[in-house]
Symmetry: C2
Subunit: 339 residues, 2 copies
DNA sequence: CTGAAAGCGCTTACAG
DNA sequence: CTGAAAGCGCTTACAG
């Protein structure tokens, strides 16, 4: 069933059928009505490939998400889609494997779907090379700064990871904590984890605190199980910790469960804080002390920046969004008896 | 940049270029090499629309997800994608608004992308009419039975909601509970909630228990906040409840937090159980007693069924997957002093 | 192994 | 307002 069949059945030419399909006003009411009838009768759907081939048209905004397990991404994604729709762009989500090269995948997706722009959620820094410019469309990295990539078509929106981690560390220190454990991502691949760790370290050094990273920083996946196992390793390697900083809320949940399974209570025995500020964090018992990355605000800024790049050919920008320290119930003041 | 430009630059015809693009063996090594060079030089990507227009080719399997907030869907989705990839199909995820008509959206998506098949996660039963057959491809509804829809191209894979809810209710009764509250979805739109409620009711009536649905069944959205507010309403309407059955784990988390905020502990004061069996349920404190819907198993069966329909034109089937009652720490035995 | 040509289903000036 | 025709970029028999 093609436009030709419709034309024949309706007794008009293909051009006229095409016009009614495209809401072109230059069609007589009776022609329109008759053609609409036939279209309805056969539930005709014009071939999009042919249509696009002619129109050379693009397709909204592609969102490439690395890993389906990240709840922060899920939250940001919802907001991104809402913002895109509000701005009149359709959006398309592509989940790719955590081990895939997102830039290669983006090239494939651009070739197939010709989006106006591409948004990345999650990234391995090493993949973001100048090859990205060959995509030929504006790109945006979410929740992760790409300022130091210096790729001309790549913008980014994120919180200042280093500063946020430092802020949380300061908070814990102010409450009397001195013996820290950290559960974060793998430093060679997770840029945000590296930034957050350096934020923590800067506070430690300012406070004159020793921090044996080899035993007190545990690298794990950003999952419940990662947090759980990471906490178990911390308990082995430095059972004296009074405060554990998990670099994601999900990891923090895993860590809290591990502590409980080892007979320790949060926050009475050990304080635990997270990072992300998921809605979930606010419903846990204890409510999680965490750094909130404002998903809606980030999405709003991200889409706005990307659209300026698309429509006006604006230059890439790297924007930092204010984070927020959320005080929950998972962190307690400590009286350091040793001091 | 088109195949024609490449052909000219390489000194061959477009046919030959097309052949190397498609790995057709009928190309001399030197032609292949030369053409590949030129392709590489310009980073040429063939136009997918043109390609598809010619090949009339389809595109893997479309997954239409209603609402981005459902964690069970997120889990199932991951498994579905893995299964599709393993079977050699690419997959594409389309999130649609909770208020959208998923069948209309599916029609649009089929017209645009011509998938081999469509998988629905989440549904309003009323939208699943015989219009679905006009999609012309096999469809599959996940986590929700479509047996009574009797649509010839629609299969489904789900647990037996009624039986699962009855099983959980039996379990609670066996532990001595008599005063129940239920937090579920809106019965007019959520088919699974209706089935689960009827499972509960069947046990109540078998046990000779009165259940005033108007006050003891609270309808809410399947969200943390829905669970929280639902629990608050239960506390108002029937403060005597000893056991609360939430029809999703996420709702259960919200309910537990609400109880805590009203000075009640779980499970010491009130028992709470969920439904879904998310990985998260196993990391909460207390671990959640829940019905596990085996995401991996369901995805495996779903994809296998859909592929048989696609490849062999097999008839739609409606398969029930065994659920599992997971005993966590959120439910306690009760001594009914009144008896 | 290669090229010229037809055709996929549509849109859009162009001429009427 | 309408139709005939060109052409979007590719693939694929067909003939050599």
């Amino acid at each position: 069933m093609t436009i030709k069949d419709i034309a024949k059945e309706a007794g008009y030419g293909v051009g006229t059928v095409s016009r009614v399909l495209n809401n072109n006003p230059n069609v007589s009411p009776q022609a329109r009505q008759r053609i609409l009838e036939v279209i309805e009768k056969y539930h005709f759907q014009p071939n999009t490939n042919a249509r696009r081939l002619k129109q050379q048209t693009a397709q909204g905004i592609a969102m490439i998400v690395k890993g389906t397990h990240n709840m922060l991404f899920a939250q940001v994604l919802v907001e991104l889609q809402a913002q895109c729709n509000a701005a009149g762009y359709s959006s398309m989500v592509y989940y790719i494997d955590e081990t895939d090269n997102e830039v290669e995948q983006a090239a494939r997706i651009c070739a197939e779907h010709k989006p106006y722009g591409v948004i990345f959620l999650g990234s391995h820094r090493e993949h973001f090379t100048h090859e990205l410019t060959q995509l030929g469309v504006p790109c945006l990295l979410m929740t992760n700064s790409a300022a130091d990539c210096a790729i001309e078509n790549l913008s980014s929106v994120s919180v200042d990871d280093m500063s946020a981690a430092a802020r949380m560390t300061d908070h814990l220190c102010a409450l009397g904590h001195r013996d820290f454990g950290i559960i974060g991502g793998f430093l060679d691949t997770s840029q945000p984890s590296a930034a957050r760790l350096s934020g923590c370290l800067s506070v430690f050094s300012r406070m004159g605190l020793a921090f044996e990273a080899s035993s007190r920083y545990v690298a794990a996946r950003y999952t419940l199980e990662g947090g759980y196992r990471g906490m178990e390793r911390l308990l082995e390697q430095c059972p004296d910790v009074t405060a554990v900083f998990a670099f994601s809320d999900i990891m923090a949940i895993g860590a809290i469960r591990a502590l409980r399974d080892h007979g320790l209570r949060v926050p009475q025995d050990v304080s635990v804080c997270g990072f992300d500020g998921l809605e979930l964090a606010d419903y846990l018992i204890p409510r999680l002390t965490t750094i909130r990355q404002p998903a809606q605000k980030m999405a709003e800024r991200g889409v706005s920046i990307l659209i300026r790049c698309i429509r006006e050919g604006a230059e890439a920008v790297h924007e930092l969004i204010p984070y927020q320290l959320v005080e929950g119930e998972s962190v307690l003041t400590i009286n350091n008896k040793e001091e």
